[in-house]
């Protein structure tokens, strides 16, 4: 082997080896665990596919999947809409544009667990700021945390506040990569405003919008921190996300085997989603 040939592996191998050993090996171990009935502090024995069969009859799996899907259905479209609006607004010229762009990204860097605790105060029913403001305009006390429907809404609001920034960054980068000459040509032809957006910007941006949305759907399946403090999955189990149920199964009830099988199902769902995003991305971009 030429020296250059060896050097290239020297550059790549450290990270690949590190990631492989700490991702692939644990995942294989997880597959092994999922075939056992291991509970921390007890003897472990093989039980074949029983864990996987149990998933179908576990109402909390169904409940948490239902929550997660409803949560995605509510938050992701709103986030995409807001992010697109913010990205378009950032492209206009106005004083303070630079500061505005920073503000748009900031939520992404705010600690989710701190945000979840802040949520407790913001949505506090007796004298929290939200109910205080609402009472000024004559709306009565809203049970933001103790009522299942409103708890769902408050969790969603936190997610929308934080994750709009994620889509904003993707959309803004997309907007700025659009070729400028098409716009100039269209303006010469007398097109303006809404028409420019509808017949040029939107179609060109669509692949980025859909990939961004799929990425966000994947991220939503992982929602945990934002819920952890604000509702803890409650009231009851009405805001228990799939990830939170896995966490509770494995590390509160210590049923590691069953939790492993639940998490592998999640991995499969997300891999399929990722594949869809990649196909979409590949068709348009040379990645």
């Amino acid at each position: 082997m030429r020296k250059e040939e060896k050097v290239k592996y020297l550059f790549l191998l450290p990270s690949v080896a590190l990631v492989l050993s700490f991702v692939i090996f644990p995942l294989i171990y997880s597959v092994f665990l999922s075939l056992t009935n291991w509970q921390i502090g007890r003897e472990l024995s093989f039980i074949g596919l029983s864990n996987y069969l149990k998933i179908f009859t576990d109402f909390r799996v169904l409940n948490s999947l239902e929550f997660t899907l409803k949560f995605i259905a509510l938050t992701v479209p709103i986030e995409a809409f807001l992010a697109l609006g913010l990205a378009l607004l950032s492209q206009k010229s106005f004083t303070g544009n630079k500061v505005f762009r920073i503000l748009c990204i900031l939520p992404f860097f705010a600690s989710p667990i701190a945000l979840s605790y802040l949520g407790i105060t913001i949505f506090y029913e007796e004298g929290g700021p939200l109910n205080n403001i609402l009472s000024l305009i004559g709306v009565g006390k809203i049970p933001w945390i103790s009522n299942p429907t409103y708890a769902f809404l408050s969790v969603s609001l936190l997610d929308i506040w934080q994750w709009t920034a994620f889509l904003y960054v993707i959309f803004l980068a997309g907007l700025e990569s659009l070729p400028k000459d098409i716009y100039e040509a269209a303006m010469v032809d007398g097109a303006s405003g809404w028409r420019l957006f509808k017949s040029i910007t939107l179609p060109l941006l669509l692949p980025i919008i859909t990939t961004g949305v799929i990425f966000k759907v994947i991220e939503s399946f992982k929602v945990f921190d934002l819920i952890y403090a604000l509702t803890g999955g409650g009231p009851g189990i009405s805001t228990e996300s799939y990830t939170m149920y896995i966490y509770k199964t494995g590390l509160r009830f210590f049923r590691m085997g069953y939790a492993a099988s639940l998490s592998l199902i999640l991995l499969i769902i997300l891999s399929i989603l990722l594949m869809l995003a990649m196909i979409r991305l590949r068709r348009v971009y040379e990645v």
Partner: protein, 284 residues
Amino acid sequence: MSRKDFSKMLKKILIYLLVLIASVWLVFPLYWAFTTSFKSKVDVFKPLFIPFIQYQPTLDNWINEITLRGDVIMTGLRNSLIAASISALLCTFLGSMAGYALVRFRFRRWSNKDILLWFFSLRFLPPIALALPFFAIFMTLGLIDNVLALIISYTVFFIPFATLVQYDVFRNIPVELEESAMVDGCSRTGAFLRVALPLSAPGIIASFIICFAFAWNEFLFALVLTYKNSITLPIVIAGAEHSQGVDFWYICTRAVIAIMPPVILATLVQRWIIRGLTLGALKR
């Protein structure tokens, strides 16, 4: 004023109005945390939003927090700082090497594109799927409640991100400078360390800060892998017991401590962060 000027002015007003509404929405939670941390216990539950005019701000909450829980918070701060900065440093350096390799060399068994996509797909791995086996593995290794376990976890988790950022940066650095350095007798490693790496400084800063912020904010792994000596700030926040109902004031002081560092860092380098956050791959 002609009709055209009038509609132009309307448009301008509309833009500023939208910017104002959006800014209030974006800033409110942070503003709320910050101002509430300076409110006296009497004022907390009242609809008061403007300090000095509506209420008199006080340092009491901060003084109480430091005198009563200063130790725990210092432990959390120290561990967060250690775990986040060391893992971000490792991620950035190893990610730079991998990103550089993917730009400057050709790999055969798996093409560069495949390796890149592999890194990219790792970004989407659900943490909970790794948290359970990690718990079992680190328990066997005796590393539970050890900062080392966090450093390893975060490095593994955020290397793919740093690699993508640096891949994007190196792709836009002309190869000629390194070539001439190598003609002058510099080795490949020397050319990387002395020529390419310094030129990629913006990418290094962006990926360091983003990895730092990710690690700083990370909650699930810290929750699973630590319980006492190596708890990070998010765990300190989550572990607070509340004496009477919900202690607004303490929630807010801690939220400010946890939220501020990454937010301030991100503000300082926001120019590079947009590039970094677009995952390197979104490019025509």
